[in-house]
């Protein structure tokens, strides 16, 4: 139902997530943001079971902020990813596991950009590109084919658009718009949303003007 994607370049990480918040068959919201800002250069993308996502992601977010307040410097992306994985693992074998799938993207001033893939079974892998959701089945091979480690930001954006077009063509569900953000040494920038299909509606989805 939900879709996350991340592509790491030599000095940036491009991430995108769909904007649909659904409840059984109904789209409750068309402009829902699934990215949580952990710090100036770390983003956590979180999908999964309805309440678990926000609860878990906000918990991680506040703890990363607390670390910064206590110690005066921010956690690196790798440290934040391992902290997140540890929390997932601790709750995995309890009676209340958190069923969330995560992508953590960040830029470390020393190590450069990093993209971390995390699972609801608390697996952790640093990867050059990653995707979550049913859409991942359709788009991972596109990423395999066209990804190269030294791609530019524009090439990464084109690759992202290829993936989204493929979703629009073959995925059974309608995901009309995607939030896109890029993290580099200057921090997190929000790029323009990628929309497919929604532009063809006569009436745009109702939102406060």
């Amino acid at each position: 139902m939900e879709y996350l994607i991340g592509i790491q370049g030599p000095d940036f990480v491009l991430v995108a997530a769909d904007n649909v918040a659904a409840s059984s068959i109904i789209q409750m919201k068309h402009d829902y943001d699934k990215m949580f800002k952990l710090s100036e250069k770390i983003l956590l993308l979180c999908v999964g079971e309805a309440g678990d996502t926000v609860q878990f992601a906000e918990y991680i977010q506040k703890n990363v902020q607390l670390y910064k307040m206590r110690n005066g410097y921010e956690l690196s992306p790798s440290a934040a990813a391992n902290f997140t994985r540890k929390n997932l693992a601790d709750y995995l074998r309890s009676r209340t596991p958190y069923h969330v799938n995560l992508l953590l993207a960040g830029y470390d001033d020393a190590d450069g950009p990093g993209l971390f893939y995390m699972d609801h079974l608390s697996s952790l892998a640093k990867a050059p590109f990653a995707a979550h959701g049913y859409g991942a089945y359709l788009t991972l091979s596109i990423l395999d084919r066209y990804y190269k480690p030294d791609l530019t930001q524009d090439e990464a954006m084109d690759l992202l658009k290829k993936c989204i077009e493929e979703l629009n063509r073959r995925f059974i569900l309608n995901l009309p718009s995607f939030s896109v953000r890029v993290i580099d040494k200057n921090g997190i920038q929000e790029l323009q949303k990628v929309t497919v299909g929604a532009a063809k509606l006569e009436r745009a989805p109702y939102s406060q003007t």
């Binding site: 918040a21 409840s23 068959i25 109904i26 409750m28 919201k29 829902y32 079971e49 309805a50 309440g51 678990d52 926000v54 609860q55 878990f56 918990y59 703890n63 929390n87 709750y91 309890s94 009676r95 209340t96 958190y98 009436r203 109702y206 939102s207 406060q208 003007t209």
Partner: protein, 269 residues
């Protein structure tokens, strides 16, 4: 905190548990609302109604339930249609008034839009008892917040508080509510909390959504908004077996920040 009032013996020291009139009001008032309603499986807490227990508020642990989630006694459904949306003239909420009980109309004049305080109203769906209970709990916690901090909790904060209070009851489909003040939130017992401009909840919600998506715009007048809200609930009551009877419509203005109940009409039939 009850002090040494002359002439009164302190009842807390008696061994007779049946006569323990000591109410730990201070501890109760400071008890976190997030701890409310958690079913305790451990034998630490005694069964005495007024026993004191140390408020364990300092451990920074994840807000997960410490006990088994309460299983449902029977399958529950949300037999209702409620909706709310924001437009230039304020906020409009509408709901049907049928309260059903597995095929029987238990009450044809139930009130599903519950005022929580003068600036906040919740529409509810799910089991009526749970909705009434949580409305009162939320009203109590908001009032306590107001007394402790000297200001009213915002709608966003009230939605977050309700969402966290419902978290231990995840999976029981307890109550699905959308409350508003000057803004609109959808809160569900499965943990969803969304801010938006148009929501509809309940078994009749798909039917209501289709009518609302046709006609709701920002620039509606109050009369037009009332009409489309009423029409959406009416169409939903026509198609959905578990929604019916009358339509309650509430309208709240941004400027004059209080809510009034507009009308309670028979649907056109």
């Amino acid at each position: 905190m009850f002090g040494n009032t002359p002439g009164l013996t302190c009842a807390r020291d008696t061994a007779l548990s049946a006569f323990r009139f000591y109410v730990p009001a201070a501890e109760y008032l400071e008890e976190s609302p997030l701890q409310f309603g958690q079913v305790s499986t451990s034998a630490q807490i005694s069964s005495d109604l007024f026993s004191t227990h140390s408020g364990d508020l300092s451990t920074p642990s994840l807000p997960s339930v410490s006990s088994q989630p309460v299983p449902l006694p029977f399958p529950l459904s949300h037999g209702t249609t409620t909706l709310a949306f924001i437009f230039q003239g304020g906020v409009l909420a509408a709901a049907d008034t049928r309260s059903s009980c597995s095929g029987l109309v238990a009450c044809p004049a139930a009130q599903k839009i519950l005022p929580i305080h003068s600036h906040l109203v919740g529409t509810t769906s799910g089991t009526s008892a749970d909705c009434a209970l949580w409305k009162r709990i939320l009203a109590r916690e908001l009032r306590l917040y107001q007394l402790r901090h000297g200001r009213r909790l915002s709608t966003r904060g009230a939605a977050k508080l309700l969402s966290h209070m419902l978290h231990p009851f995840k999976g029981t489909e307890l109550c699905v509510a959308s409350g508003f003040g000057p803004c609109l939130f959808y809160v569900c017992s499965d943990g969803t909390r969304l801010q938006g401009t148009l929501f509809s909840v309940g078994s009749g919600s798909p039917y209501a959504y289709s009518i609302l998506d046709q006609g709701v715009e920002w620039g509606l007048t109050v009369e037009e908004a009332t009409a489309i809200g009423r029409e959406a609930v009416y169409r939903a009551t026509h198609r959905d077996a578990y929604s019916g009877n009358c339509v309650d419509v509430y309208h709240g203005l941004f400027s004059r920040r209080s809510l009034r109940r507009c009308l309670s009409l028979q649907p056109r039939s």
